[in-house]
């Protein structure tokens, strides 16, 4: 069995979400910030007349903040029928991964990312970290 995943990077690491969940990929969206909201919410965007929340995955995964001048990309995913935008550094590609390459997170992984990662696919030369989109959106 293999799974098709859309990959993206965050702070130099490779992450992926199931291609089934992905609706589209965007760039250059003006975001409206939401004062008082949790830092993981990067703002609201207008996607063809629909208002979407943008989730800052770096903040969510406790990674350092992005440089001011790099423009983030948005991966629009659908969770329970509702679109949500995930803010990432760069978009990778669509890859097929074998299920036997998969391993659950190591026991040494603690903190928020343990809940948000399904596990890792052992690709050649690097690991593809599979994001649990349901939890990422709910967090």
């Amino acid at each position: 069995m293999s799974t098709r995943m859309v990959t993206f990077t965050l702070d130099g690491h490779l992450y992926g979400v199931d291609v089934e969940a992905v609706q589209e990929v965007l760039r250059g969206q003006t975001r409206t910030r939401i004062p008082l909201s949790p830092v993981t919410l990067a703002g609201l965007i207008n996607l063809r007349g629909q208002v979407l929340s943008a989730i800052d995955l770096r903040a969510l995964l406790d990674l350092p903040d992005r440089d001011g001048d790099t423009e983030p990309m948005l991966v629009v995913i659908r969770v329970a029928g509702e679109p949500v935008a995930l803010m990432v550094d760069t978009i990778g590609s669509v890859v097929d991964v074998d299920d036997d390459q998969f391993e659950p997170p190591p026991d040494t992984l603690v903190g928020v990312s343990r809940d948000l990662l399904l596990g890792a696919y052992k690709l050649e030369g690097e690991l593809l970290l599979a994001l649990d989109v349901d939890r990422a959106v709910a967090a």
Binding site: T32, I34, P35, L36, S37, L44, N46, V51
Partner: protein, 742 residues
């Protein structure tokens, strides 16, 4: 077959409406037994159903309505008079008809509903030998009572055989309904919802086009954009109206509910309804239906006492249940009030304690009003006994959940021995609302117009004196009353980017109280399409939704009610509402410089310098009299003149050809206050004052060891120009500000 289905469908829809009308009429008839109008209306309704059911070959339905019609005909013609029994059998007939219609709707045939019992009972009443029937049996019977009746089950599905009689029947049927039928059509609700969505998108696009057209110098484009603007607005209003329905649609079912329930509980109840015509969006109407019915049932079952109990309590035997609906502050308020025994907060507290929902310590800190709200907790019930109506400990929490699901609130008020009121507040969450867009720290926000009272713009000079504080809480004097100020930047925890000292205040009304929201800039007013927020963002208690502005960017809609609750303590609101004169003089004295003037007889009067725009000497000969007032021409305008000595009961000692005038202006209006001499301008720091509350003064103070009276400027100005404050200066400033913004 298609065709007959359609006819049956239409018949069902029509009949259901007719039955609702019938319920209302029958209950009303019980109150006014002799009413020919009501009897006539009931007769026609039943006759219509009978006629159509005959035509469609629903035999059982026809036989029930046939005997019913006979009974009604006798009543209408005065051959028989109304008794409670007659009403009972007629209601039983309506129930049976409804049951039959439900089966027809399900399977297209009459199924195996037994009608003989009802027919017999009606016949018995017709023949005048009805045996009294216990009320319980009259309540809608469950399907279990159904007996198999081979004849009916075997009845074939009717085929369209338009015979002469059938045509006659339909003609007769339609003749009674022609008026409605010719002027209205039925529309699928889903279609309306789709239209509403589309109109929402159209409004957004309209906003974008209007904005872009404004940026260009193309006259034709501007004209077309304006036209589009108008049409879109009208279209939107029209579509919105199609979705509005009076709350009477819900209420019309309640008289029957109350009657049956009253009978079942052995209580006699009058139902009063106020504000039937109050309209709300149909989607909301639907969501309110069950909670409202539940509250009404609760009120009859628990709220009202039985007749004996009421008489013992010195009340009329008949209980009164009042339903009230009205619009308030952009919300629809629906109240269910009974004049029953009320809810005892102590008993609620005991019960909450006993069922472990609250601890003694928690209860001790709660006010009686808060304790009452505990009835909305899951698993709470205080009914002495569990009846089949209510008292199973489910209900009030479900009501609350349902109301909150549509963004509404529910509260209960009660006075022991006097009655209980449940109040629902339902938002008018119509998809499109007029709003004011404002800017704060570079971000744009929308404020729904319903909460907005007015806008106040202060330039840096005026802001420096007009925005004062009461022990650290900012206030602004709005036409003499203190308005508590809330800075949006503080609420949102952001930095303002306005550094020129200008202050813009949106005067808002929330929960019956006023406050001023200080914002950076006012942008414009526009119709916005409300997009819902995720529950997580809603729970921030700051935003009620989001919208997309003309340039395609997202703006958050401020939740004014929640802002008021968050930012204002109860005391701040009180202060804002009360704003006493003493407090005002105190604050003004701490901050303001005073102009000290003599008015004769050695008296000195202090006038806050902020009230003064100019000091002038004018020739006494320029004073003219208009009516009973003195005026003077000054810089091309006519100023009303106020002689302060006369106003304060002193005698001027000044002799000469000229007058010393203090000019006070606000916006376009000015008055001239005549004094004897200008003595000094002082920094007023003294705390010493006595409350001599003489006419026209707010007190007195010691300045340089002399007693100086402090002028009540507002009263003085009103004496000169009663209209001075009626058209506010601030609106003029605002217009400039808006023009600047556009």
């Amino acid at each position: 077959m298609e065709e007959i289905d359609e006819i049956v469908q239409e018949f069902l829809v029509e009949s259901h409406e007719n039955l609702d009308q019938l319920d209302r009429d029958l209950v009303a008839l019980e109150r006014e037994p002799g009413s020919r109008d009501l009897l006539g209306s009931i007769f026609r309704t039943i006759h219509t159903i009978k006629g159509t059911s005959g035509f469609l070959a629903f035999g059982n339905l026809e036989s029930v309505t046939h005997v019913g019609e006979n009974l009604l005909a006798r009543l209408r013609d005065g051959k028989q008079s109304m008794t409670p029994q007659t009403t009972d059998v007629l209601l039983a007939m309506v129930d049976k008809v409804r049951e039959l219609l439900a089966v027809i709707e399900d399977c297209g045939t009459e199924g195996d509903i037994d009608v003989t019992e009802v027919v017999e009972r009606i016949t018995a009443v017709l023949e005048g030998n009805a045996a009294p029937t216990p009320i319980a049996e009259l309540l809608p019977e469950p399907e279990a009572a159904v007996e198999v009746e081979a004849e009916v089950a075997a009845e074939p599905v009717p085929t369209p055989t338009p015979t002469a009689t059938a045509v006659e029947a339909t003609e007769e049927v339609s003749s009674t309904r022609r008026n409605v039928a010719e002027s209205s059509i039925r529309v699928d609700v889903e279609l309306l919802d789709t239209l509403m969505r589309l109109v929402g998108e159209l409004v957004l696009t309209r906003n974008q086009i209007v904005r872009q057209a404004g940026d260009q110098d193309d006259l034709d484009l501007t004209r077309s954009a304006q036209r589009l603007n108008l049409i879109a607005t009208e279209l939107q209003e029209g579509v919105m109206k199609t979705r509005m329905q009076p709350i009477d649609h819900l209420w019309s079912k309640l008289p029957r509910v109350v009657r049956d329930l009253g009978a079942a509980c052995g209580k006699s109840v009058t139902l009063a309804m106020v504000g039937r015509e109050t309209e709300l969006d149909r989607s909301l109407l639907e969501s309110v239906k069950d909670p409202l019915t539940h509250l009404v049932r609760n009120a009859v079952d628990h709220g009202l006492e039985d007749p004996a109990g009421r008489i013992a309590a010195g009340k009329p035997a008949e209980g009164v249940l009042t339903l009230r609906a009205y619009h308030e502050g952009g919300q629809v308020v629906v109240e269910v009030c009974d004049d029953g025994a009320g809810i005892d907060a102590d008993r609620i507290a005991e019960k909450a304690l006993a069922s472990g929902l609250r601890t003694t310590a928690q209860l001790a800190q709660m006010s009686p009003a808060d304790i009452l709200q505990l009835i909305f907790l899951p698993g709470f019930s205080t009914a002495q006994s569990v009846t089949n109506v209510s008292g199973r400990g489910v209900g009030m929490d479900v009501v609350k959940t349902n109301i909150e699901a549509i963004g509404g609130t529910i509260e209960v008020e009660s006075v022991v021995g006097r009655g209980t009121t449940c109040r629902l507040r339902i938002p008018l969450t119509l998809a499109i609302v007029p709003a004011l867009t404002v800017e704060c720290a570079g971000d744009r926000y929308a404020i729904p117009q319903v909460s907005l009272l007015e806008l106040v713009a202060l330039d840096a000079d005026r802001a420096a004196t007009a925005v004062e504080d009461v022990n650290g809480a900012s206030v602004y004097r709005l036409r003499g009353a203190l308005l508590p100020l809330v800075r949006l930047t503080d609420v949102l925890g952001v930095e303002s980017d306005r550094s020129d000292g200008h202050v813009l205040i949106a005067v808002l009304q929330a929960e019956g109280k006023r406050f001023g929201l200080v914002i950076d800039r006012v942008l414009s007013t526009e119709e916005i399409v409300v997009k819902p927020l995720t529950s997580r963002l809603k729970s921030l208690g700051t935003y009620s939704g989001a919208t997309i502005l003309g340039d395609g960017r997202v703006a958050l809609i401020l939740d004014v009610q929640a802002l008021a609750r968050r930012a204002l303590t109860a005391e701040a609101l009180e202060r804002g509402a009360a704003g006493t004169a003493a407090e005002e003089t105190k604050t003004s004295r701490e901050h303001l410089r005073m102009l000290v003037a003599g008015i004769g007889g050695g008296r000195r009067v202090a006038i806050p310098l902020s009230s003064v725009t100019r000091l002038e000497n004018i020739a006494a000969s320029t004073v003219e009299v208009v009516g009973s007032r003195e005026v003077v021409q000054y810089r091309g305008a006519i100023l009303p003149l106020l002689r302060l000595d006369r106003h304060l009961g002193a005698i001027s000692e000044r002799a000469g050809d000229d007058l010393v005038v203090v000019v006070y202006s606000a916006g376009a209006r000015s008055v001239a206050i005549v004094v004897d001499e200008i003595i000094d301008i002082v920094d007023e720091e003294s705390e010493v004052h006595s409350d001599i509350d003489d006419h026209g003064l707010v007190g007195s103070t010691l300045i340089r060891d002399r007693i100086v009276e402090v002028l009540d400027v507002r009263a003085a100005i009103l004496a000169a120009d009663p209209k001075f404050y009626s058209d506010s200066d601030v609106e003029i400033d605002l217009r400039d500000e808006l023009q600047e913004a556009v």
